[in-house]
């Protein structure tokens, strides 16, 4: 394959994925719109609350929310607004939805980033120190991974608070004030991530150990440490990284629970309270935000994979 045709294949891959991304976003927005219209009770009931039966108020609220227009008109208005990044005003939080959501993005990104990075670091350390170890070590690690995946996040979080915050008083129990407040939530969130990643990493390393290049490197008398750090783990890490991309959903889902347990600000908590109070503009914004983030991440991961793995390119053709 020439360099040029390779480039064309890559470009086609990019265009296809971008088109797919747009469709996915549109679908998510549309499904949310339909869902909100289908919900029991209506948006105006949420807004009216106790004033439901005050004469004239219902009409006033309906027209201010644009609910008195035909559904299709409402739908296109809504699409148009979302495309310009205008999510309207939250009638529960009494603030611009964009302000609310973006102000809560930071803490969630911090948490998710810290959890993902430390999970990767932990997995790297485990892989380097234990790969090719004794069967006993393997089994212990295997059990540890299983536990990390199976322990309910909300249980672990509560226990960590009881021990390390209330008991030993090492870390604050809640809030987002400084790095100390990030420690316990990060540990809680990283456990299941590290469990899954470690399984993949070790599986990948096991596969690579049987590959010819390792065998030949060994025969060249390369040190075991160098072999693992320079050859084995990096190779396995690239494969694992693409898996890490698909863990996005787990990461956000985990953030909802971790933010609730630790009382941290963030998108997860905003989403939960928006659902509880049926604050539809915020719900829509969160859905759009998460779908967008997913689309961006998965497109990037896809493209990296496409770039790394020639077989995928052929498939695309």
């Amino acid at each position: 394959m020439t360099r040029n045709s390779q480039g064309i294949v890559l470009l086609r891959g990019v265009i296809r994925r971008l088109a797919g991304a747009v469709v996915v976003l549109w679908a998510a927005v549309t499904v949310t719109f339909i869902g909100i219209r289908a919900m029991p009770g209506s948006v105006e009931d949420v807004v009216l609350g106790i004033h439901a039966n005050e004469p004239g108020l219902r009409e006033q609220v309906r027209s201010s929310l644009g609910l008195d227009q035909p559904v299709l008109v409402q739908y296109f208005q809504y699409l148009g607004q979302i495309m310009t990044g205008d999510f309207g005003r939250s009638f529960v939080l009494r603030a611009d939805v964009s302000d609310v959501v973006f102000s809560q993005l930071g803490p969630t990104l911090q948490l998710a980033g810290a959890a993902l990075l430390s999970a990767l670091l932990a997995v790297w350390i485990i892989a380097v120190t234990t790969s090719g170890g004794s069967p006993r070590t393997e089994r212990v690690i295997g059990v540890a991974e299983l536990l990390a995946i199976c322990l309910p996040t909300f249980w672990v979080g509560s226990l960590l608070i009881i021990w390390f915050s209330f008991g030993l008083k090492w870390f604050p129990a809640s809030g987002a004030d400084g790095p100390a407040a990030l420690v316990l939530p990060t540990i809680t969130l990283l456990l299941p991530l590290a469990g899954v990643l470690s399984q993949f990493m070790r599986e990948e390393i096991g596969r690579q150990l049987r590959l010819p290049y390792i065998v030949s490197a060994r025969s060249r008398g390369i040190s075991e440490f160098r072999l693992r750090n320079v050859h084995l783990v990096p190779h396995a890490a690239v494969a694992t990284l693409t898996v890490a991309g698909t863990l996005f959903g787990s990461l956000i889902g985990g953030a909802v629970i971790v933010e609730t347990v630790f009382g941290r600000p963030g998108i997860g908590r905003v989403a939960l309270s928006a659902v509880e109070s049926q604050d539809t503009p915020v719900i829509i914004a969160v859905v759009v935000l998460i779908t967008t983030a997913y689309v961006v991440i998965s497109t990037v991961v896809d493209l990296i994979a496409l770039w790394i793995d020639p077989r995928l390119r052929e498939e695309t053709v």
Partner: protein, 296 residues
């Protein structure tokens, strides 16, 4: 996901229990961990079908005089603030946690199966669309999905099962699509086509049986993950209606009385962990067995 990174991230490759050395065989050629998991499974089935046989009474009977009693001969797991027997509640809780988890997986198997077959056999465009759908569904946080479901359709056991199930559809959709493709292109199907069988009959007679085994194994693992999600959703307050003793709700209740005693927090937590470990262990053990048989 959050609870549980779906044990099959991306649903593509099931972790094979990394470089697990063959486990030391125990009684009857089965490792001890498998025996333990089987025992848990038996207890769960009993808890769901015949809770009385496990000594559980009415899980909702209150007794204000006996509130928050520690574990004793009468109340093995102690009582909660209304004096309800926690053992009975944990046992009856299986009817919610496990049943909803299983329903979610069943739903995912059926819908994922149909979509997977459509993707494999329905042509290129459909395949592309469905693959994108699978990508989105597997990445969309299932907790959020459940939250949205609760908003749009109200709460309830079935809605919860559907919401959790939707997130697992891709795992099954993909595995079935892949297997169906592999089988479609395999020699014996080609042979069948030349013998004039219809597409539908091919799917029914050749594709389905081959796919079923791997689906069942994946299902065993996914049930564990689904239970974890269900209890997480109940924990944040969107589970089955009170006074249903779903395990996640029990844990949330236990947390509010944590300064009074450890038992309301510990026993439901152990029930969740034991159940998930059992499902996962059994699923993986069978998967390894199957692989060994295939490679042998």
């Amino acid at each position: 996901m959050t609870a549980q990174p779906s044990l099959i991230p991306g649903g593509e490759r099931a972790p094979k229990g990394p470089v697990f050395r063959p486990e030391r065989p125990g009684l009857g050629g089965l490792p001890a961990s498998v025996w333990a998991s089987l025992a848990v499974a038996v207890v769960l089935v009993l808890a769901i079908t015949l809770p009385g046989a496990l000594g559980a009474g009415n899980p909702n009977a209150t007794d204000p005089l006996l509130s928050l009693m520690p574990p004793s001969a009468q109340h093995w797991f102690g009582t909660d603030e209304l004096g309800r027997d926690l053992y009975s509640r944990v046992v009856y809780g299986a009817r919610y946690s496990v049943v909803i988890g299983v329903l979610a997986v069943l739903f995912a198997v059926v819908v994922g199966g149909i979509l997977g077959l459509l993707a494999a056999l329905g042509g290129r465009v459909l395949d592309e669309v469905l693959s994108r759908l699978f990508d989105l569904l597997s990445a969309f946080p299932s907790i959020l999905m459940a939250l949205l479901f609760a908003t749009f359709f109200g709460r309830g056991t079935i809605n919860l099962a559907l919401a959790v199930g939707i997130a697992i559809i891709p795992a099954f959709g993909r595995i079935i699509r892949r297997q169906a493709l592999a089988i479609r292109d395999s020699d014996f199907v080609t042979a069948a086509v030349t013998f004039g069988e219809t597409r539908f009959r091919i799917v029914l007679r050749h594709v389905m049986p081959n796919v079923l085994t791997s689906v069942l194994l994946l299902a065993a693992i996914e049930v564990g993950a689904a239970i974890l999600t269900v209890s997480g959703i109940s924990f944040v307050g969107l589970g089955p209606e009170r006074p249903a003793p779903e395990w996640g709700s029990l844990l949330a209740e236990g947390r509010t009385v944590a300064s009074y005693g450890w038992w309301p927090t510990v026993f439901p937590g152990l029930a969740i962990v034991a159940t998930i470990l059992a499902c996962t262990t059994l699923g993986r053990y069978l998967q390894r067995r199957l692989e060994r048989r295939l490679t042998a």
